[in-house]
């Protein structure tokens, strides 16, 4: 759930989603769900000449399972908060797995 929460904080930011089929799509992050499916508004394909397939499309829904990377603007991420949340998540996972 950590990355779901993380992406929710990035709603309305501009990101580039790189898919496993090597296509990259730039757009504004509008929505994310528990599967990390992503909805982007106002999209433009990064190499439009190679990939004219989406020329008539403004908004997309990308299935989480086909995402390779989500490129983010570094300035927007509070790394301290993220580190902290990760430590908490790791701790709760460790205790869920049963103290040994």
């Amino acid at each position: 759930m950590l990355f779901f929460s993380f992406f929710k904080t990035l709603i309305d930011e501009q990101v580039i989603v790189e898919l496993k089929n090597d296509m990259s799509i730039r757009g504004t992050l509008k929505s994310v769900d528990q599967f990390l499916n992503i909805k982007l508004d106002d999209v433009s394909v990064v190499d439009e000449v190679k990939y004219p397939h989406l020329s008539a499309v403004k908004n997309v829904f990308i299935r989480g399972s086909v995402v390779r990377y989500v490129h983010l603007p570094g300035a927007v991420v509070d790394t301290a908060l993220l580190e902290d949340a990760t430590r908490k998540e790791a701790a709760s996972q460790a205790s869920k797995a049963g103290g040994r």
């Binding site: 898919l19 089929n21 769900d33 990939y51 499309v57 403004k58 829904f61 990308i62």
Partner: protein
């Protein structure tokens, strides 16, 4: 929840994991992204030949094979002569091994 609800009843473009491009009216979907497309057509876009358009009718696409769904903007789409469009063949999302 990032759902496809706003796209129902509208024309969408679906890119599949094997690199194909479909277009049609979204009739239904579920949480695994299974998709029902009405008046489905496949657009075969290649770098060196005119785009082929294949009429398919009513289609069900299994969620596993869906990569992306795009909402088609009718104004823009009607201004594109798809036969003249050339582009790279879309890649597959699955590489060897998995």
């Amino acid at each position: 929840m990032s759902a496809l609800a706003p796209y129902v009843g509208k024309v969408i473009v679906v890119v599949t994991s094997d690199g194909r491009l479909f277009t049609g009216v979204l009739q239904g979907y579920d949480q695994t992204t299974n998709i029902i497309l009405e008046s489905a057509k496949e657009r075969v876009i290649t770098p060196d030949a005119p785009t082929e358009i294949l009429d398919l009718g009513l289609y069900l696409l299994r969620g596993e094979s869906v990569a992306l769904c795009g909402l088609v903007d009718d104004e823009i789409d009607s201004q594109i002569d798809w036969e003249k469009v050339r582009g790279l063949r879309l890649g597959e999302t699955k590489s060897l091994g998995r």
